[in-house]
């Protein structure tokens, strides 16, 4: 019991002491849209403390850097890769410890060139999640430190979460 204690909200975080309210949401929206006026689309609030935006894949790295350095989004929660008939979509769930906000950043790649820039230089936690997306869905990540299969054996021939790969015999 010695030493442990009940923390105050947002304790241990120096940057971005924002609260979950309309003002903070608006600040995020304004900063991101001002920085990327042509490539950020459909910025909207989808739930309590959850924001959603679409971004062009060429601006992904710069936008993520801005989100972490200036807006305090310190935590990459999840990177999901989804295959649609005409495109691959990558959904980044990025969280802010101080304001407890969650940002859903969606970017898409064409079918014949499924690559985006890696964000593992910004968040170390993205490293393995990008490897997982590469392993199971076959998305390439530029400038990734070690883009290898992680869950499946190295000599596995398919990316099993693609729709062309059928389950069972």
């Amino acid at each position: 019991m010695a030493g442990s204690r009940r923390g105050a909200p947002g304790e241990g975080i120096e940057r971005a002491p924002m609260k979950v309210d309309g003002e903070a949401d608006e600040r995020v929206i304004r900063t991101v849209i001002d920085s990327f006026p042509t490539t950020v689309k459909d910025f909207q609030k989808v739930g309590a403390g959850v924001l959603r935006a679409k971004i062009d894949r060429r601006d992904l790295f710069r936008a993520c850097k801005l989100l972490r350095d200036r807006l305090g989004f310190e935590h990459i929660s999840m990177i999901s890769a989804i295959e649609y008939a005409d495109r691959f979509e990558l959904v980044y769930h990025i969280a802010c410890y101080g304001s407890c906000m969650l940002l859903e950043l969606i970017t898409s790649t064409p079918k014949d060139d499924p690559t985006v820039d890696s964000v593992s230089a910004i968040w170390g936690g993205a490293n393995w999640q990008e490897r997982e997306a590469f392993d199971l869905m076959g998305i390439g990540f530029n400038n990734h430190p070690k883009l290898e299969r992680i869950l499946l054996p190295k000599d596995f021939m398919y990316h099993p979460l693609r729709k062309e790969y059928k389950e069972g015999p």
């Binding site: 019991m1 010695a2 030493g3 442990s4 204690r5 009940r6 923390g7 105050a8 909200p9 947002g10 304790e11 241990g12 975080i13 739930g47 309590a48 403390g49 959850v50 310190e74 935590h75 990459i76 929660s77 999840m78 999901s80 890769a81 989804i82 295959e83 959904v91 769930h93 410890y97 407890c100 969650l102 859903e104 968040w123 170390g124 936690g125 993205a126 490293n127 393995w128 999640q129 997982e132 199971l136 992680i150 869950l151 499946l152 054996p153 099993p160 979460l161 790969y165 389950e167 069972g168």
Partner: protein, 360 residues
């Protein structure tokens, strides 16, 4: 002395499941480390794409054998978000009570395994004995011991059995008494303390950047608990405190988990006392609408998250699962480098690895 790589695993008493830790040693000192996972990959995300929403419920249980109710609940929350279902209030309180019992059972299993790892067999036996009480409670509530399959899309499977509230409150009283006893038992052991204090330090900055969540993050001094910071079910109405510890070592992780069990007892009491009468389940449609659903909960091991894409049929188009341990174990290198080979067991044991959810 020449450096060399050593494989610890996939068959090793430390690993608690199938995974491999490659460490590079210079004498006794670790200079590099690389965990390897994937031995238990069952392709659950792909299996889910070919099952109906109801058929996935028991599969979600199998993600983690230590805290299966938590994953079952997370899946239900995700699909409820996609379908836009409001869960009845009684079901919300019931879920909270069951989730906290699961958290205590999971933490006790961790404590038992951790004590055995550190060569303290008596700690294993005490913790396993008391875990049985919460397993029995969950068995009376759900009908099974490990994979409960208790939550349903739109509520829970059954109402509480007779005398459940009395038994639960009695179990909480017992547990609170026992945890004080545990402090004497574990911290009175010189071996346990020597292998814990100051070992495997993870700084606050590293913990935040590497995506570490749950007890290891809070043990590094960051107060981030989704039950408080992004509340779900009836947690906002319940009075409890997330636990933090400033040190970031193995001992801090032990302290955080021990105090979390006390907080869980508080939550169970309040949830059962405030539980209103009424329905515990609403019916869910067979087909989900086109759109996406997101679930985010505080699993005993960290931040569990699911993202589902519905395409209007009765099967999910895509279900993505975020496993807390998969991300936490990628930070292992930062915790291991600079310590001795003998510390590996304490450091990796302190993370509460569950390979079922890491490999999916």
């Amino acid at each position: 002395m020449a450096e060399m790589w050593i494989n610890m695993g996939p068959q090793h008493p430390m690993t608690h499941g199938l995974w491999n830790l490659r460490i590079k040693v210079d004498g006794e000192t670790i200079t590099d480390a690389e965990p390897e996972v994937g031995y238990l990959h069952r392709g659950i995300e792909k299996i889910c794409e070919n099952r109906t929403y109801t058929q996935i419920l028991p599969i979600a249980d199998r993600l983690c054998y230590g805290a299966s109710l938590s994953w079952n609940h997370l899946y239900c929350r995700t699909v409820e978000d996609l379908m836009g279902i409001e869960v009845p209030e009684r079901a919300q309180y019931l879920r909270v009570a069951a989730l906290e019992m699961q958290r205590i059972a999971s933490h006790l299993m961790w404590l038992a395994a951790y004590a055995a790892d550190l060569g303290m067999m008596i700690g294993f036996i005490y913790a396993m004995r008391d875990r049985e009480i919460f397993i029995d409670l969950l068995q009376s509530l759900t009908g099974s011991r490990i994979t409960y399959n208790f939550c349903r899309i739109g509520g829970v499977a059954h109402d509480v059995p007779p005398d459940f509230e009395r038994d639960s409150l009695r179990a909480c009283d017992y547990m609170e008494k026992k945890i004080r006893e545990y402090y004497d038992l574990y911290e009175g052991s010189k071996v346990f303390m020597m292998r814990n204090v100051g070992v495997g330090v993870l700084t606050k900055e590293d913990a935040m950047n590497l995506g570490v969540t749950g007890p290891p993050l809070r043990a590094s001094g960051v107060r981030y608990d989704l039950r408080k910071d992004m509340p779900y079910e009836s947690y906002p109405e319940i009075d409890f405190q997330p636990i933090t510890h400033p040190d970031g070592d193995c001992y801090a992780r032990y302290c955080v988990r021990m105090e979390e069990m006390l907080e869980s007892c508080k939550i169970i009491r309040q949830a059962l006392q405030r539980m209103p009468k009424g329905k515990w389940r609403v019916l869910a449609p067979r087909n989900a609408p086109i759109g996406t659903g997101l679930g985010r909960v505080e699993d005993p091991r960290g931040e569990g998250m699911m993202y589902v894409v519905g395409d209007g049929t009765d099967r999910p188009y895509r279900l993505k699962i975020r496993s807390p341990i998969f991300v936490t174990v990628s930070a292992a290198k930062r915790m291991l480098v600079g310590y001795k080979v003998a510390d590996v067991v304490a450091i990796m044991g302190g993370l509460d690895m569950c390979i079922g959810e890491a490999d999916r």
